[in-house]
């Protein structure tokens, strides 16, 4: 065991260093006075002022947040329905097809999804005149579709672990099926719905490739703006934005993890 004692912690430390060092350096250099970003020349919040003054970044952030919220909500509804159908309905025609179709977007390369949806929208427009042109609507349709797959996976695993006797017990005590759903099922799967929605929101907010295919003029999302900026080299205002995003997400994930750990500790005891 002697070798393991130092090898494993060392390997894990190197791995975590690899995962976090670039992010940390990006955060640190967002406060750099030097516009060259990677050469430290003193503390400054100039990059944040640049971000605030940037004509594109903030509007694009707002647009992306809206798209992500709407897409995540649609995906939550569709994904939950899909998960219920796959877990709760014993057998129906096309169950395997539905299962395969809903998991396929998980492994589909973004470029394929993007080109496929764009060609669909173009074809639909020439056939039935809808959707008219491409923009926010087509991005939302595209994002809802691939996010549905992720929501389904999350909710499906929660439903599969669900102790059916809880619902039976409620019914046994006089609750009608609708009542059972709102009193028992919904509160218990709520954490999965929340994490499913958040996952969908994050994925939508993060998507560059699919949005690039299906967006139109005037509907550039945040990743598209960032990509066009960083393609040309370093951009201090992007560092500033990244720091804000990472800060928000990290505190959210830490809080959610603490909450989730408490929840699961409870359930383990229950």
């Amino acid at each position: 065991m002697g070798r393991n004692r130092w090898f494993l912690p060392l390997a894990a430390s190197v791995g975590f260093l690899f995962l976090y060092a670039p992010i940390l350096s990006l955060v640190i250099f967002s406060f750099n006075a030097n516009r060259l970003v990677t050469v430290w020349s003193g503390f400054s919040t100039q990059a944040y002022a640049d971000l605030w003054a940037d004509p594109q970044l903030l509007p694009a952030t707002w647009l992306s947040l809206q798209i992500a919220a709407v897409s995540a909500t649609i995906a939550l509804v569709l994904g939950t329905l899909c998960a219920v159908a796959l877990v709760r309905f014993r057998r129906f025609r096309g169950k395997t097809v539905l299962q395969a179709t809903v998991s396929a977007p998980l492994v589909m390369p973004d470029v394929i999804t993007g080109i496929a949806l764009l060609l669909l929208f173009v074809t639909m427009q020439s056939l039935i005149g809808w959707p008219q042109g491409r923009g926010v609507l087509t991005i939302i349709l595209a994002h809802s579709t691939f996010c549905t797959a992720y929501v389904t996976v999350v909710v499906q695993s929660r439903l599969a672990d669900f102790d059916m006797s809880l619902e039976e017990a409620a019914m046994d005590l006089g609750a009608s099926p609708v009542r059972v759903f709102f009193d028992i099922t919904l509160p218990i799967i709520a954490p999965a719905l929340v994490s499913g929605w958040l996952l969908a929101f994050t994925l939508s907010l993060d998507d560059l490739v699919i949005a690039s295919f299906v967006s139109g003029p005037g509907s550039s999302t945040l990743p598209m703006i960032i990509f066009s900026k960083v393609r040309l080299g370093v951009a201090p205002e992007v560092n500033a934005l990244a720091t804000i995003i990472i800060g928000v997400v990290a505190s959210g994930v830490v809080l959610a993890t603490i909450y989730g750990l408490r929840q699961s500790a409870r359930e383990k005891q229950a």
């Binding site: 046994d172 005590l173 218990i188 005891q269």
Partner: protein
């Protein structure tokens, strides 16, 4: 240990052919695909009974319970409770409650709210709900635990919450699915008595599903032994143990030495069976429904046989050479209260005999490799024809 009959023997409702059963199960079959989990089963259960459905896994006992609760619909047959046909009644409209094997306590509700849940569904006034829940918490000795969540309770406490929740609506019939299965041995024995006490106090009819025969014996007024979706035997605990009606029941309940034999004398007051397997004749001092030359089985409990060093004198009424066989002790298991002897007969077959250790540290106890005689009374064994 068996539940004290509250009623005189002659008023036990199941012994009264005119009594009206409270639960009537008529020719119920439940098929899952092609497999019949419950197969053409009929059973009557009377008011105030503590009825145990006893069987191994896959015997259909849980399916039967779930059909009573309404979670499964019988493929055919009917279930009547208190004279009312249950076929079209949804689980949430049945005057029945169930205590689940996993307890199924709602994890997101406090103990108090768990117990109050069913009462709220009945739209009972708030004050009455509060009074009822407090009363139940007292009944199961959890007065101080109302505000806890299920995960903050021990296994035994959860079991009692589940019981209180199931009793809250004062159901006419309570179904209990392995109510003591998740408790450890010591707690289980204590809880058995409490369960019987609560049942007697409230006068509710209990139907308990269990795979544990000791539990069934100690709780039940009557036991229904289930095998492969059918009721193998229904009877009071003593009947099931002392007078099994089939080889399955004799083997399933307790332990039994069972041998095959052929009828050589069939008289109204006695039967004589020759058993090559046992290497001797069996004399049974009462009449049996059989015919000469019929092949049948004879079973005897290990504690009903007597083990001696010297050949005992022939008993009055039993012909010489019957009900006695020679062997030698091959193995001994000392269990404290009694000792189990594994006796090898001359024809090579083993039988099991138990002896109560009435004398402390008996220096004269029968030991390994001793030649012994095994004998028994004319009414100690059961003749089984199926």
């Amino acid at each position: 240990m068996a539940k004290k009959p509250q009623l005189a023997a002659d008023t036990r409702p199941w012994r009264d052919p005119a009594a009206k059963p409270f639960v009537r199960i008529r020719n119920v079959t439940k098929k899952f695909g092609d497999v019949a989990a419950v197969d053409d089963l009929s059973l009557d259960i009377y008011k105030g009974e503590l009825f145990c459905l006893l069987g191994g896994s896959g015997s259909g006992k849980s399916t039967l319970l779930r059909m009573l609760a309404g979670f499964e619909v019988p493929t055919s047959g009917s279930i009547e409770i208190d004279g009312q046909d249950m076929s079209n009644v949804a689980p949430y409209n049945r005057p029945i409650n169930m205590m689940f094997q996993s307890y199924a306590l709602f994890p997101h509700m406090t103990v108090w709210n768990n117990i109050a849940y069913g009462l709220k569904r009945d739209h009972m006034p708030k004050a009455e709900i509060a009074a009822r829940v407090d009363e139940l918490l007292k009944l199961v000795k959890l007065d101080a635990y109302g505000e806890r969540k299920p995960h903050q309770l021990s296994g035994g406490q959860r079991q009692r919450v589940a019981l209180a929740r199931a009793l809250a609506k004062r159901p006419k019939l309570l179904l209990l699915d392995e109510p003591l299965g998740a408790l450890d041995k010591k707690l289980r024995e204590e809880t058995q008595f409490e369960l019987v006490k609560i049942q007697e106090t409230l006068g509710v009819t209990f139907i308990v599903v269990t795979h544990d025969q000791e539990e069934a014996m100690s709780l039940a007024t009557r036991i229904g032994v289930m095998n492969q979706g059918e009721i193998a035997m229904v009877g009071e605990p003593t009947e099931i143990y002392e007078f099994p009606n089939s080889r399955f029941v004799a083997n399933f309940i307790g332990s039994a030495n069972m041998v095959e034999g052929v009828v050589t004398e069939d008289e109204p007051d006695h039967v004589r069976i020759n058993s090559a397997e046992l290497g001797t004749d069996i004399y049974v001092d009462h009449g049996v429904d059989c015919s000469p030359e019929q092949i049948l089985w004879w079973a005897i409990r290990p504690e009903k046989m007597v083990l001696t060093r010297d050949r005992p004198a022939a008993q009055p009424g039993i012909p010489d050479g019957a009900n006695i066989v020679k062997g030698y002790v091959e193995d001994i298991a000392y269990l404290g209260d009694m000792t189990v002897y594994q006796v090898r007969l001359e024809n090579g077959r083993y039988i099991r005999v138990t002896k109560t250790n009435a004398l402390r540290g008996d220096p004269n106890a029968i030991s390994w490799d001793e030649p012994v005689w095994v004998s028994w009374d004319g009414h100690s064994g059961s003749v089984l024809t199926n």
